[in-house]
Symmetry: C2
Subunit: 346 residues, 2 copies
């Protein structure tokens, strides 16, 4: 494997860095063939590594002495901290010294770095964050955008649908994945001005080259049922869907815990069900699903949750492989050219 097959991992980003990042890399090193380059303070990372078992052939450390913290102003941080793990890692990606950049760091800095260092894909107006969403059947769907763009224009939503479809096909192994637009009802006359106009664009895109499999409007209740493979909405609504799911699942599990331990009989029942209860919790555990791709820039970036644990880091690294190998970025570049030719995006 060449340099371009390496996974570049931000060793310093996230609430529990570098410990859980290094731990995640160590776990992944036994499971993959690719080399993981952990970017960050060499001394600190080496010390973390020596404490762990890992496949020494698969892990390298790339020194970067600066760190962009979670609360720094993103654009300024990316411009001034040229020796930060995010900027160093992103430059490696740009220079072909790796095929994907995985980070639990400052989301804004990852977006800014993606835009300034890698650049937007031609024809994509607004890059987006796409998050996997656990559905009832046990699989996942993809939610785009989940926070990069609070306000969107109709063609941004079309771009999200297009990029999400390619990611779902190439990484989540969905065949001819279907797209739904989040609205207040399934009728096409419903919703905000932007959503109504996006509906028109999406409907038209069914007929273009490599057209989208757009099924129409969906209601938020359809999201957990997994009615569609790609759920399209602006970043404000996507953030609401993601955070509410987190909060509500947590609330329901708290309530279950409280109710199931409130008397002796219930405790026995809960004991008999303990295996099933942890399966249930796992179904809503985001660390199972790896990170969220930032789509629309000229390079594969995976954003992990800031509070990721080692399992989440390991899973994000593994999920990053098909994102890189199956050339999602190049497929998006081609698809957007097709759309331009047919005149849907100006």
């Amino acid at each position: 494997m060449g340099k371009q097959d390496r996974i570049i991992l931000d060793g310093m980003g996230g609430d529990h860095a570098p410990a859980v990042i290094v731990e995640g890399a160590a776990l992944a090193s036994w499971l993959i063939d690719n080399t993981i380059c952990i970017v960050g303070d060499e001394k600190v990372l080496s010390a973390e590594l020596t404490r762990r078992k890992y496949d020494a052939k698969k892990i390298e450390i790339i020194h970067a002495e600066e760190v962009i913290s979670g609360d720094e102003a993103p654009v300024r941080a990316v411009r001034t901290k040229q020796r930060s793990s995010i900027v160093v890692g992103m430059n490696m990606l740009k220079d072909g010294e790796g095929g994907v950049f995985v980070s639990a760091g400052n989301t804004g800095a990852l977006m800014a770095g993606g835009l300034f260092i890698l650049g937007r894909i031609r024809g994509i107006d607004r890059p987006a964050i796409a998050s996997t969403y656990p559905i009832l059947s046990g699989g996942v769907s993809l939610l785009v955008d989940t926070g990069a763009n609070a306000e969107c224009k109709p063609n941004n939503l079309l771009e999200f649908a297009l990029m999400g479809s390619i990611y779902a096909e190439k990484v989540l192994n969905k065949r001819n994945p279907c797209v739904g637009l989040v609205n207040m009802g399934t009728e096409e006359t419903k919703g905000t001005t932007v959503v109504k106009a996006a509906y028109e664009l999406l409907a038209k895109s069914r007929d273009t080259v490599g057209g989208l499999n757009f099924v129409g409007n969906i209601e938020a209740r359809d999201v957990p049922h997994g009615t569609v493979d790609i759920v399209v909405c602006d970043g404000y609504v996507g953030n609401v869907i993601l955070k509410l799911t987190e909060g509500l699942a947590w609330s329901i599990f708290q309530l279950i815990k409280r109710k199931f331990t409130s008397d002796a009989l219930s405790k026995i029942g809960a004991l008999l069900l303990s295996g099933k209860l942890s399966e249930l919790r796992n179904a809503f555990d985001y660390s199972e699903y790896g990170g969220a791709p930032i789509l629309g820039v000229k390079g594969a970036i995976v954003k992990m949750h800031g509070s990721s644990n080692a399992k989440a880091v390991k899973n994000a690294i593994i999920r990053a492989l098909p994102y890189m190998k199956n050339e999602v970025v190049r497929h998006i570049e081609n698809a957007i050219l097709d759309l331009e030719v047919t005149g849907d995006i100006e």
Copy 2:
């Protein structure tokens, strides 16, 4: 009690009308002192009534031969069907022949009827639908708007906060209820242009006469935790929150059912926990919480879910009493005058 204390009930609105509506009224008739006027086709309603036990002193039928169905264009329906149960009921409310109008009918027609027949409260630009939301501790919070206004201006969100605060205080018995604005993060610099401007207005309103107890931005994950008493957002986002909660709770309960019946041991566990499991389901059962008030028009309207069962109808009738008795509409009229005096609403 006078005519103005009567509860006007739309006998013909909703998926299961008139049967469940009449059943709900019959159940409520034993529990309240007020008279319930059921509006709709006299023959049909009488036939439904005779099949049930009810307190005959408390139920009257008011004839209205037309029905506005769920899929009719609202404005046109209200203008042309003058003898529909919605228009007849709303006119009774306007004429003081009752103190509140409760309906499971066409939401758009209820909004249109509210605007055309009752009229907006002076100073309120956009009436809103406020829905109760079950929270972890066992109570409810209030979500405004949940679907009347897909797009909002900043001052609309301020109005929602004001109306919601009054309803929460007078009907849900919350003292000095606190208001949160749904955003993508708690920092005041986050979110859409409208949300940022609404934040400014809400923050300023803390200092005005009878000022709001505005605690700032909240994330969607805070909603089920009950961090605030009144959750303010536009109708598109409110609809997403309500529908996603419905869909996700349903999904989790489906998953519980599937897991807890997958083997013999689990079935025994589930049997021991069956009481707790139904308590859990009830916590997310919207029929427990009655209907949603339409706030901002010159009369008390309660909108029930279209699929309401008899228990939901009964609960909506009971919840409608403090809405009427505690003069929520008059308190909103006064509060908005106070705000106008201090110049927050133009």
